[in-house]
Symmetry: C2
Subunit: 304 residues, 2 copies
DNA sequence: GTGTTGTTCTTTCTCGATAAAGGACGACAG
DNA sequence: CTGTCGTCCTTTATCGAGAAAGAACAACAC
């Protein structure tokens, strides 16, 4: 049976939207809502029906209006856990298991066990593992199961070897961009976002993760390549969970990284290839160190 | 329900093995058979029971012997289709559909439709698509379906951009290998295999595909990196089906490629980095041309 | 005609069930 | 005590079902 996570998320979003619209406001058409809530019209109608049932909106057909934003504000939201698709939940739980719990490299991964532990059917686990395989952290043995390769130092080193190749290539392509490319403007805006973040780094340091990913993706978009973009999914995922897991020195590390980005951005905007490559290498080297420090020792070390 | 493809393949293999052993020969232990047939002991026992039932082997427990290789030779093998796991069958059928049939870039991929067409449950299709996603030929739209990006010229270009970066890096690492590395010997053996193939190229030209893949993987093993190895899976897959599909000039193309490989190998064995890189670039350029010639035009061209 | 809503059909996502394959344990032989 | 086989339990690979989400079509309004 399919869960109604899409509906629940849309319902929560719709409540916020209604509050913004204000009492008595005419509701946008179903098609317009469909775009704003990012769901199909079928789901929009289900949401509207529920809102009407709660007395938040009134009228019918084309003549719907907001009846009570007080009720909308007070209405109980669905808990976030119920608004996420199963795949996202499984991913979170799995990463937590791997990074926080026991999970030594070489550990056998048991579909049935994970299914029981996460409270989902084995199908959901299988689907996750199949998609997750491409991140290079697990290995499949047909008819037998999966083995955790784990987030080891080797993993971090191999990841960064590729990352450096890709980033250098993309940085070069970026410098070679025509002067009228819209990417220059985009880069300038990223620069300002970095400056804003740096000014409030003490409060906002956890916003860096997202900015980091966007920055590197813009550089890559100078000369798009699907395999490089796919590879960035791996990096984004690793850093996402790494940040969540290793809070040590987070503010400090991120402040450093923002400054490195700024040097890198300035070099890019100055079209100075040599300086770009220097800044790029410097930034990647420190990112690599950060990651390696928190990786697990892997199978080679004789620790028991 | 799980299909017994493993059993059927093992049974077929066991029949061949029995013929080799000869009448009256003592059978290897269950553990030994398990290794030779590449299955669990449970399956070995099932195979033995069936062989005994057919009068091919006799005796019980530790005292089993071959009773009749005539019966073994005559016994009906299971058809190959029944010895392949579902996933392999789905992959084949899907690639055929994509490369041979209509399948224009942008085509919607319908799980239910494919399931009906291939005669499997939707779960099987989903599992395949999830694993196949990493090859960059399809794209997922949650709750809605998949879209075929297709084997376009862009795909081939992006593939080869990465391939060149990886191959150059690995070729450099190979040249820098210590003189006592076992890989030198392995490379020399590959050289001889190439020479043997070249001598009989008119009959054996379809053996090139496999040799090609092994050759490039050995080069990569000079400095192993899981992401590069994973990327080679993509190349291997593409070339595998490409060869099956585009038979045009196959003999001619492969003869050329073998000669390019030999130049490349000789440069490697001579530890001449400049020459290695030249040979490598030359080989990749011609492989790229081959692939591009048979790629589909993609979405950009205005052909209807 | 363009855009709206009402209606119906199709497809995706997830579950639970079941046979096959794998793996663990004990008993026994040399 | 090492290797073998017999037995039993666990896990994987696949199917089919069913509710949710998406999509197509028709009817209607401006």
């Amino acid at each position: 049976m399919k869960p109604d996570t899409v509906f629940k998320r849309a319902f929560n979003d719709a409540l916020e939207l209604v509050v913004v619209l204000g009492d008595g406001a005419q509701l946008p058409s179903e098609n317009a809502l469909k775009v704003r809530l990012n769901v199909s019209r079928t789901t929009v109608r289900k949401v509207l029906a529920r809102l009407a049932g709660r007395g938040v909106v009134g009228g019918r057909g084309a003549h719907r209006e907001v009846r009570s934003i007080v009720r909308a504000a007070k209405a109980k939201r669905f808990p976030v856990a119920e608004t996420e698709p199963l795949s996202a939940q499984v991913e979170k739980r799995f990463m937590e298991w791997m990074l926080r719990d026991n999970a030594r490299p070489g550990t056998a991964i048991n579909e049935l066990d994970l299914a029981r532990r996460f409270g989902v059917a084995t199908t959901g686990i299988r689907e996750f593992l199949n998609r997750f395989q491409r991140f290079g952290l697990i290995e499949r043995h047909p008819n037998s199961g999966w083995v955790l390769k784990g987030f080891t130092t080797d993993f971090a080193l191999e990841l960064f070897e590729i990352r450096e190749m890709f980033e250098m290539r993309s940085a070069r392509a970026f410098v070679a961009l025509a002067d009228d490319s819209p990417l220059w403007r985009e880069m300038d805006m990223l620069r300002q976002e970095h400056l804003r973040l740096l000014r409030k780094i003490d409060q906002r340091y956890h916003d860096f993760s997202d900015l980091d990913s966007r920055f590197h993706r813009v550089i890559n978009s100078a000369s798009p390549n699907r395999f490089i973009e796919d590879f960035y999914d791996i990096i984004t995922m690793i850093f996402h969970y790494h940040y969540q897991w290793n809070k040590q020195d987070e503010r400090q590390r991120n402040a450093v990284a923002v400054r490195e980005h700024l040097a890198y951005i300035d070099a890019l905007l100055g079209r100075d290839e040599a300086m770009v490559l220097r800044a790029c290498v410097a930034h990647l080297a420190s990112a690599k160190q950060t990651l390696i420090r928190s990786s697990s020792r892997g199978l080679k070390s004789s620790e028991g």
